[in-house]
Amino acid sequence: MASRLRKWQTEYLGRTLVTAFGLFVVVLTLGILGFLGYKGSATFIDYGHSLTEFLISSKWSPGEAGQSGSIGSAVFIIGSLEVSSLALLLATPLSLAMAIFIAEVAPQRLSTTLRSVLEIFVGIPSVVYGWIGLAVLVPFIADLFHLNFGFSVLSAALVLALMICPTITSVATDSLAATPNEYREASYALGSTRWQMIWHVKLRAAIPGILTGVVLGLARAFGEALAVAMVIGQSNRFASSLLAPTNTLTAVITANMGNTTTGSEYNDVLWSMAALLLAISLLFILLIRVISRRGQAS
């Protein structure tokens, strides 16, 4: 009896636990997917709005208390897209340069130090980035461009760029470091300079990994709520320039979720936005998969 119990402990307990938790994660993910799909569809089923209105219209005045209004979310969708793509545009060259420096140029000691510094950077909570943005960047932008206020697409993109830079850098560094050493040797043997070796050989070999980092950064930028909400200005208008405020999907959800009641159109359209965010994130993940598969194939 005792030995049986012992056997159960050593053999099956761990397996059962691990399986249980594994299944739990699967159920949780499917649950969230199903829940968001269900909650998000109420806007279209219960309140009879069309998907086109949600995606294309910019008329935003959702109803409460059983009333129905307009739910055009184009401003927020465009806002999210422009802020995160601008952040990506700013962060990618910088991250790539840093990654090359850490993986190829820097001496071993410095490279190790830089990697740990990067890890610290990845761990800084987004509220800190947002706060620094609000306290330093927003007034600076206002001064620099002689504006009344510095809340703008540019401020949000800069904060996000700073935030996703370490993510992209560390994934790109790993991927550069993981390229086989033979590539380097072969390229030197053919008489290439160090830069030619880095640019034409190593970087090309590491491209799938670098792209994965870029998409990860994009996903983080797209899903970030707090830091963006603090510096974007949350204006429900399309941004007329990079220096104008606008609003994003995540900021609208955080600003209004506490003020609306379950089952109201306002609350339901927030769920639709959440479902849209998830759908776009899934798209990004799919993109990563395709990229890394293509990388393996070549």
Binding site: P62, E64, Q234, S235, N259, T260, G263
Partner: protein
């Protein structure tokens, strides 16, 4: 041996975590059962005990929290938890039975469908006034705005302070989100319900403290905020008079100043004994004095015309 200890630790930790998540799920249903169970037994007892949970409106939160601390001193056997989350959260929670009291800046009928609002009992505990504030660089020249001027500013027709007697400076509107209770009061009573308050371009802040900071830091900014947030406000912002009337409670009591609303504490059906006692305490004389210090108004001081206006 060491491996065994490590394994046991892992198992214990996992069980602990799993247990935690289960407790998390169960506790909400427990508290629901408790509050309904105590209704019968507690109502005759003079010595109050049990628990009261409150959530909702962030404008009412400081007062509710203050009252809870004072109430617990008198009734040591009652435990009270007060949370914020916004008026919608308060109404949601009280309707779902997860809290005993849901705080709201607006009538439940403005947020919930009629059938759901009908299940809730309204307890008006105090008044909240909403003031129009401007950045202090404007205040020297503009200290009075007419309702018509306000409407023109917030609809984007007036975009420069010059047009209302101020300096040559662009007007920056600072709003609360369109689901905010403060915004609802402002739109209804200052702008006569005009739905577009965002002008050509306006900023928006999640909460009133952020609004105070943004108006204070942005030259040419205008916004609106509950009186309670202005009690300890710095010199960066200044109140403006509306149609020549100062934004204060005396003018609200005498029906001269219109931008105000009731603060509501909603219960699902009739409250249990300890909750009823707390609601009574909220409107007691001691609490009214405290409320006025903190920037809220007393309902009983409204004159007949002001009371009839809502």
């Amino acid at each position: 041996m060491r491996i065994k200890i490590r394994k046991t630790l892992i198992v214990l930790l996992s069980v602990f975590l799993l247990g935690f998540s289960l407790i998390g799920c169960a506790s909400t249903s427990n508290s629901g059962a408790n509050s309904s169970g105590t209704t019968g037994t507690q109502s005759q007892s003079s010595n109050l005990s049990g628990s009261i949970s409150i959530s909702g409106s962030s404008a009412l939160y400081p007062l509710a929290n203050n009252a809870a601390t004072a109430f617990k001193k008198d009734n040591p056997d009652v435990s009270i938890t007060v949370g914020g989350g916004g008026s919608g959260t308060g109404l949601n929670n009280v309707l779902a039975g997860t809290v005993d009291i849901g705080n709201s800046d607006v009538y439940a009928t403005e947020k919930l469908a009629a059938a759901e609002a009908g299940k809730l009992v309204d307890h008006k505990v105090c008044l909240i006034g909403v003031a129009v504030i401007v950045n202090s660089d404007i205040a020297a020249k503009v200290n009075d705005l007419s309702t018509a001027q306000l409407t023109a500013i917030f609809s984007g027709k007036t975009t420069n302070w010059q047009d209302v007697g101020g300096p040559d400076e662009q007007i920056t509107i600072v709003n609360r989100p369109s689901s905010s209770g403060t915004r609802a009061l402002f739109v209804k009573w200052a702008l006569g319900g005009q739905s577009d308050v965002e002008g050509d371009s306006s900023l928006q802040t999640d909460d009133s403290n952020a609004l105070l900071a943004t108006v204070g830091n942005t030259s040419g900014a205008i916004g609106y905020i509950a009186f309670s947030y202005l009690v300890n406000a710095g010199p960066g912002v200044a109140k403006v008079r509306i149609d020549g009337v100062d934004a204060n409670y005396d003018n609200i009591y005498s029906n001269k100043y219109q931008i105000w609303g009731y603060e509501h504490m909603y219960t699902a059906g009739q409250p249990n004994a300890q909750t009823q006692a707390f609601l009574d305490y909220m409107t007691s004389k001691t609490m009214s004095t405290q409320a006025e210090i903190m920037g809220y108004g007393t309902i009983s001081k409204l004159n007949a015309a002001a009371a009839a206006s809502r």
